[in-house]
């Protein structure tokens, strides 16, 4: 049980670290976008994880979970609601990022972030 719990946390943290690592080290802006998505996934996983209560079931009120006992039987539903929003927003951001990245690389003739440094100092 605990193993699962910490595995999820570990995976999430790992995703975040891998994502940030990618963001900081990749040069191609599309790959950077991809790295962001990875990190984002990690964060979302962590968000779901934060509402997880050991030994409880999904927060869906059906025959298995009587409404009266729901409070003590299901995991915290709030993070699950939040993570939906977060995923949606994440998709929007990722889409926008890709658009910007593609257009930028077309305009600038390169997808290498090291060459997008006209503005500095």
């Amino acid at each position: 049980m605990n193993v699962f719990y910490w595995t999820v946390a570990g995976t999430a943290s790992g995703l975040i670290i891998v994502g940030l690592w990618g963001v900081l080290t990749r040069k191609n802006i599309l790959r950077i976008g991809l790295a962001f998505t990875i990190a984002d996934t990690g964060v979302n996983l962590l968000l779901v994880w934060s509402g997880y209560l050991p030994g409880r079931t999904t927060p869906i009120l059906n025959g298995d979970v009587p409404a009266a006992e729901a409070v003590s039987a299901v995991v915290d539903p709030l993070p699950q609601a939040l993570v939906l929003t977060s995923i949606v927003i994440g998709v929007a951001v990722a889409a926008l990022f890709v658009v910007v990245a593609v257009l930028a690389s077309r305009r600038l003739g390169t997808a290498d972030i090291r060459r997008m440094k006209e503005l500095k100092w």
């Binding site: 939040l82 926008l96 997008m116």
Partner: protein, 973 residues
């Protein structure tokens, strides 16, 4: 209901315009405006209902439930009087910018309207997840609108912004996870109860998020790039909407962060302010300068959050950020986005003046009131912190000045988009009046900051008289100059009110107004850039020193100790003493000549006034000897420089600083005789330096040059100017019977009385060296050979001649009857507490001390008598000679070459230069150039953090995050 309208009306408009925008652009724009106006009306109603417009309603609250259930299942918005007022600015900013931005780039109205709603949402949001949603939407719109702009570098900006917001999302959500996990709540205020490691983690994460979002140094890199590269019209909208919203949200968050020690914020802010603004000094790109200024305000937010609490915090943040945002919007509205390198290239300095002054917080503009309140609080906590903040603000004012001063464009009346900018400026002006009227500390011209009495009235007469008499000549600038009359008048009126100010704050406000008006006046010169820059920098430094002193001594202009030291430093800078002459020489020589006359003759006396009045004698005493030595060495050094200089106006500038050295010497003696000498000489200097500079104005106006080598022989063409100049030269050289000797007599009596013989020797040496430049000035300009190109030169214009006549009349009266002044001055000075030494005795026209005596009237009569006798004797003893041509000289039987070749004026005192050759060359310009270079170098070091690679910026954030967490971890057991 009204609340909901206020927030969501723009969103409604967004849906409507999204449908309309490609069908009917004009209608769409109109609808955008209508919705914004309606929203503005709604938010105004709310603000009024909350009592925010009148004082004290900032904390009143109104809750807006947008769902049927209670949080967290509904979006719960909380409107306070504080945020309602800020929301007004959001609407105003959007209204001002929409025409310029959306009118130019079709299809952006829906996004812009959504941005307004999002901004309001963020400002009113009460829980973490709502804030998250708003932050994300805001970022998306920002990226979108950036990319929609029309400038070349928008893609780079958009990409960097997107990457930053990606990182912010991750860090922010991590914080949310920890908060929810630990407290089980999502209210923003919930975190304040957190403790232990989670609290540290959350603080670190949120602080990094906040610093990145508000662009606080060192996490400001992306913000600088943003302001540099973005479409300037979008920046106008952005400044007042999203940027302001983030600032206010951060302002709320910073107060609830569970930091072990909130003072840390102030230290981070102050450090960032100094280093970040130092980096800004090197900026040449105006857009980037605006970015640095934004970063300064971000640092200010951190400082405020760490030091100020309660109602003060609310009002200060509001004052700072709403006005700064509105000013920035106005500045950006004036930009021309088509000009990539310098969007303000075609804008006149005049129109940029008001918003830029607002940004720098010069009194009486609104930010100033917040600034001085903040500094007062800081002074109580840590003077060091206050000093750092003042230094940072000084740096900011330097590059903002640079931004302003490089504008040379004409008025842009015809450009239709300028209306919005003017509207913004008008709103700022209204805000200025409103805040000044409501400024808590209150300005007052009544009351008695300075002892009423003869000395004060004397200075009043100097300020008023000097302004009035310098003014007539200023209406028409000399060759290549514009008229500085308006600014001279503003400066002069402020100066004149100076002695009447009822409290320290009023004094400071008037001082600053006078200074910045003078800076603008100087900028009207023919070659303004360098001179004005140095003047602005030194005047700014003096102003900030004065401000520091004011704040440290709790509103008195100064008190003994550090405040006195600061005041003395300010006065010395203002008078160009001890090496600070750099600005005098550069500004006087490049300013319009009449402006130079005003600055040197009249305005410099403000510093004397400050020293004489602000400081009790007891406060000056510990500094006395050092002051006296600074004065003496300045007098000597500047006299030598004046002798070797070949530019008319520069010579006068050196001479002016040199003469003021005597004043400083006298003040440093802190004796009755010393101060009498100082004030007497101040009045004298006022007279003769005004005459000299006005004379120079006349000469330059007629000949178009101030170079000794090209002048000469003008006595034949400008006899009146020569006469006035001659009289004032004899006066400042201290030759009896004219008034300058009185100053010298009093000063030597004071010096020998105090046993300060070495000082007296230096003074004596300075005064004989003064002969060198005195004669050279008269000779090179007026005597010798008249150059053929000046054969047709006419006498100086009446507008400068008549004032010289008035000054000369007063000078002559003072020369023969110094007791007219001394009769009143001596008792007045003797009554100043704390001055030691003997009081000179006046009997009839004679003045005496235990050391010696002097009777100006009888000396005058003797000279007139003997001279008159010689004159008459010559007249009656033979025929009058005839006047011959200028080249009819005994030239060893040869024909003299051209007049220019015979006129010996350049490098006149070459042997003097040779005799001085053993001295190491110390140039003030090198010293200050060195300081500037060092600052630039240091600035470059910090600037090099911002490599332009977006990944570096992300790395900065992560490093700061790690450092902060480790630091706080180490700080708590």
């Amino acid at each position: 209901m009204v609340t909901a309208l206020a927030v969501f009306l723009p969103l409604l408009g967004a849906f409507l315009t999204a449908w309309l925008t490609h069908r009917n652009e004009r209608l769409s724009l109109l609808i955008t405006r209508l919705f914004l106006l309606a929203g503005l009306a709604a938010i105004l109603v709310i603000a009024a209902r909350l009592g925010a417009v009148t004082d004290g309603g900032l904390e009143n609250t109104m809750i807006l439930r947008t769902g049927v259930m209670t949080p967290p299942l509904s979006i719960d918005l909380k409107v306070t009087g504080w945020s309602a007022l800020a929301a007004v600015v959001v609407y105003v900013g959007a209204l001002l910018g929409v025409g310029r931005f959306s009118g130019r780039i079709p299809g952006t109205q829906p996004l812009l309207l959504t941005l307004v709603t999002t901004s309001l949402g963020l400002m009113f949001a009460t829980d973490f997840f709502n804030s998250f949603v708003f932050i994300e939407i805001g970022s998306i719109i920002t990226i979108g609108l950036t990319a929609a702009g029309r400038c070349r570098r928008r893609w780079e900006v958009a990409l960097k912004t997107a990457m930053i917001s990606g990182l912010v999302t991750i860090l922010y959500l991590l914080a949310v996870v920890i908060v929810y996990r630990t407290t089980g709540e999502l209210r923003l205020t919930a975190i304040s109860t957190m403790t232990g490691f989670p609290a540290i983690l959350v603080s670190g994460l949120l602080l990094t998020v906040i610093m990145t979002e508000i662009k606080a140094f060192p996490l400001s890199g992306w913000g600088l790039d943003f302001y540099q590269g973005v479409d300037k019209n979008f920046a106008a909208v952005y400044s007042s909407t999203w940027s302001l919203a983030v600032l206010l949200w951060s302002a709320r968050m910073l107060t609830v962060l569970p930091l072990p020690d909130p003072g840390v914020l102030a230290r981070i802010g102050a450090g960032g302010l100094v280093l970040g603004q130092l980096a800004g000094l090197r900026q040449r790109d105006p857009g980037r300068m605006m970015g640095y200024s934004t970063s300064a305000y971000a640092s200010i937010l951190l400082i405020l959050a760490g030091t100020v609490h309660g109602a003060d915090y609310l009002s200060l943040t509001l004052l700072f950020f709403t006005f700064a945002s509105l000013s920035k919007t106005t500045v950006f509205l004036m930009a021309d986005p088509e000009e990539e390198d310098d969007p303000w290239k075609k804008v006149s300095g005049y129109v940029l003046l008001l918003p830029l002054l607002c940004i720098t917080g010069i009194p009486p503009f609104p930010v100033f009131w917040a600034k001085i309140r903040m500094l007062t609080v800081l002074a109580d906590i840590s003077p060091l912190l206050m000093g750092a903040v003042i230094l940072g603000l000084f740096f900011e004012s330097v590059y903002i000045y640079r931004l302003w001063s490089s504008r040379t464009g004409p008025w842009q009346k015809k450009r239709k988009y300028f209306d919005a900018a003017f509207m913004g400026a008008a709103l700022l002006a209204a805000g200025t009046v409103w805040t000044a009227a409501g400024a808590e500390q209150g300005l007052s011209l009544s009351g008695e900051l300075f002892r009423a009495g003869f000395v004060r009235d004397l200075f009043l007469a100097i300020f008023a008289g000097g302004t009035l008499l310098s003014l007539p000549g200023a209406f028409r600038g000399g060759p290549g100059e514009k008229s500085p009359a308006v600014w001279m008048l503003v400066s002069g009126v402020a100066l004149t009110l100076l002695p009447l100010s009822g409290n320290g704050l009023t004094f400071y406000v008037l001082w600053e107004i006078s200074a910045f008006a003078a800076v603008i006046g100087v900028s009207k010169g023919a070659r303004p850039s360098e001179g004005t820059f140095w003047f602005a920098v030194f005047a700014g430094a003096a102003g900030y020193l004065l401000l520091a002193s004011l704040v440290l001594s709790d509103g008195a202009v100064s008190s003994p100790g550090i405040p006195m030291l600061l005041v003395a430093a300010a006065a010395l800078l203002k008078m160009g003493q001890g090496g600070a002459h750099l600005w005098n020489v550069r500004a006087y020589s490049t300013a319009p000549s009449t402006m130079a006359a005003f600055l040197s003759g009249t305005s410099s006396k403000a510093a004397v006034f400050l020293l004489v009045f602000s400081a009790s004698a007891a406060a000056i005493l510990p500094l006395g000897t050092s002051l006296a030595w600074i004065g003496a060495l300045t007098a000597l050094g500047m006299a030598a420089m004046a002798s070797l200089e070949s530019d008319y106006k520069k010579v006068l500038a050196y001479a002016s600083v040199s003469q003021l050295g005597y004043v400083i010497m006298g003040i440093g003696l802190t004796s009755v005789l010393g101060w009498t000498a100082a004030i007497y000489h101040t009045f004298n200097h006022f007279l003769f330096k005004s005459i000299l500079f006005l004379g120079a104005a006349g000469v330059i106006a007629r000949t178009g040059t101030s170079d000794y080598d090209s002048l000469g022989g003008l006595v034949k063409r400008m006899p009146l100017t020569f006469t006035f100049t001659l009289i004032s030269v004899i006066a400042f050289a201290g030759v009896p019977p004219l008034s300058g000797f009185g100053s010298k007599w009093l000063l030597y009596n004071a010096l020998v009385e105090q046993g300060m013989l070495p000082l007296a020797l230096v003074a004596m040496f300075a005064s004989v060296v003064a002969f060198l430049y005195a004669f050279r000035l008269l000779y090179a300009v007026f005597l010798g050979q008249l150059a053929p190109r000046h054969y047709e030169v006419k006498e100086a214009p009446l507008a400068v001649l008549a004032p010289q006549g008035v000054f000369t009349a007063v000078l002559m009266a003072l020369s023969f009857r110094p007791t007219l002044l001394l009769d009143r001055l001596v008792p007045a000075v003797a009554s100043i507490a704390g001055l030691g030494g003997e009081i000179p005795v006046i009997e009839g026209t004679a003045l005496s001390t235990s050391l010696g005596y002097w009777d100006a009237w009888s000396v005058g009569m003797m000279v007139m008598g003997v001279f008159g006798f010689a004159f008459v004797f010559y007249w009656i003893s033979g025929r009058r000679p005839i006047h011959v041509g200028q080249l009819d000289i005994g030239f060893a039987g040869e024909l003299p070459p051209s007049p220019e070749e015979v006129h010996y004026a350049g490098d006149f005192f070459r042997p003097f230069r040779r005799a001085l050759a053993f001295l190491p060359e110390i140039h003030a310009s090198k010293v200050f150039g060195g300081i500037v270079k060092t600052a630039d170098l240091a600035g470059d070091v910090f600037r090099s953090l911002f490599t332009g690679d977006a990944r570096t910026y992300l790395l900065h954030s992560l490093i700061i995050l790690t450092v902060m967490i480790l630091w706080m971890k180490g700080g708590t057991p």
